[in-house]
Symmetry: C2
Subunit: 320 residues, 2 copies
């Protein structure tokens, strides 16, 4: 089943979100409009808006209130990608040139700032102070994680705790908060929105681990960037950490640095694949997915719950 | 009279703000702590917190509510400086190396993001939705201005409208909002907080024009950076625009570009000083200052009003 089919009952609302995303990014500056819309049009799964809307279905769902949260969360995600590409020196994302490569790092820095500011502006339509507290705390965590990510680059002595903390801040928290804020915007009870937070958190962990696996197992065409890009950029992920448990493999991996050529990665990718690291990473992702489904089972039955279950399974086990 | 003497009745509250600023920036990451505290310790006049507190004196002033706004506004200002230094390739600010020169552009980008996120976190202590709407709109304007600033660099065909719009977004809006949000946090009536906004706006315009004059008239020691730095970085300010009204001077100014050496600036600084541009710029700054004082006169008499008047005159006419 295709991802979009899992929440087809939301189709008209998802289209509204897409329209609102387009409308929101309308600065008078041509440069800013081009740079920020470029990011928008590079696509993505819009998974955060989908989670926001589905979580809202557990309460008093009003699309005109929900859309602010859904669009805000997607914009925050986009803004963080634009800044990430600066740090990663990434020229390609989702098969498209990045803002930093199409323009430059400075434009990318301010484009990210601008898109983020738009998200804040939308969020002011939500008057519940709790929503703002949760979002602000999350953003602090995300920025702390971003700096940590720079420090952890090519640091082969890091352990699984470092990795898990990093993906928590980089991915899982924002997905968790998408679920929680969607619920809060729909006036859902605390006991429910806290469970939705946890569900999103576990799904986010599983999602990122899967992403980190795919960086080795998917093709360049599927990824929209060369395989092994993460490691080449110094990002040490689950498959790398598992592979490094073997001393011989570790020695070879540790040689990767800023000057390693993409062509040199092929042998290392093969080594990692043969080390059993991929299977171990899949098992780790599955553990988080199971936790997500366990929490979800505690929530009231409805159409949104079924969709969340399908999506969780899909993104935790997707092939690309 | 020294600036600090003008609001000596706020001394203990200002000390509290300074302490809260220190406390707020306490990330577990050593790098982030160093980079962000470095910015904090580089000093500054803390003019935004002072305006927040003084505006609060027009209403129900509770320092424990006020301090959140005061610290948040200073942090937003600091975050924007850290990002500005990346754009300006500035190695020195206030006589101290910048984050981007002491570390690098990437660290500076994320340090700015982090400091900004802390500001948002503090602001969530203010539950009035209006405060959040005003702040978010302002931040959007500021980020739009930042991109415009990049586009306007070395663009000698720009006019006064471009310049005024730029300094509005770069400086005046955040000072205006400091006044307005300080008032709103103290539950001041709309008619008053709107006047405080306007007062802050005009003071901010006068302040930035004065800053732009001082870049030519003050000494390197007073500025904490070489004179003429703004123009060298491509920032075209009031004195430059006035000086360019003379065709001969214009021809020489238009030769400034990314490759101009600081030593080549001396002649141009002299030309600008001799062109009458400084006097015209002072007169422009004075016009805004007068508007600020006119608005202020409409507000109820109190100690804070007197302090705002003194500060406005001081920062509009300061010598460095």
């Amino acid at each position: 089943m295709k991802l979009k089919m899992m929440y087809s009952f939301l189709n008209s609302d998802i289209n509204l979100i897409e329209k609102k995303l387009e409308e929101t990014i309308q600065p008078e500056s041509l440069l800013l409009r081009q740079a920020s819309r470029h990011t928008l049009q590079a696509g993505g799964k819009r998974i955060r808006p989908v989670f926001v809307l589905l979580a809202g279905k557990f309460g008093q769902y009003d699309i005109h209130r929900m859309k602010n949260v859904a669009v805000a969360l997607e914009l925050i995600h986009m803004a963080s990608l634009v800044h990430d590409d600066v740090i990663d020196d990434a020229d390609i994302r989702r098969g498209q040139p990045t803002v930093k490569s199409k323009w430059d790092n400075k434009i990318a820095m301010y484009t990210g700032d601008y898109v983020f500011a738009l998200a804040l502006e939308l969020m002011t339509n939500i008057e519940n102070p709790l929503a703002h507290k949760i979002l602000a705390n999350t953003i602090v965590e995300v920025t702390v994680g971003e700096i940590q990510q720079i420090k952890d680059k090519y640091r082969f002595s890091q352990n699984f705790r470092d990795y898990l903390r990093r993906i928590r801040r980089k991915t899982a928290l924002l997905i968790a908060v998408s679920c929680q804020l969607g619920a809060i915007a729909a006036h859902v009870d605390e006991s429910i929105h806290k469970k939705l937070f946890l569900f999103g958190y576990y799904v986010g962990m599983s999602f990122q681990i899967t992403d980190d696996i795919l960086d080795f197992t998917a093709t360049e065409k599927e990824l929209g960037k060369p395989a092994g890009s993460d490691l080449l950029q110094g990002n040490i992920t689950a498959p790398v950490l598992y592979a490094m448990e073997n001393c011989e493999v570790r020695k070879k991996i540790e040689k990767v640095n800023e000057n390693t050529m993409p062509s040199e990665m092929e042998d290392i990718i093969q080594l990692i694949k043969q080390s059993g690291a991929i299977e171990k990473s899949i098992s780790l992702s599955d553990q988080y997915l199971k936790k997500a489904l366990t929490i979800l089972a505690e929530l009231p039955e409805n159409r949104a719950k079924k969709a969340l279950r399908d999506i969780a399974k899909y993104i935790g086990r997707r092939k690309f």
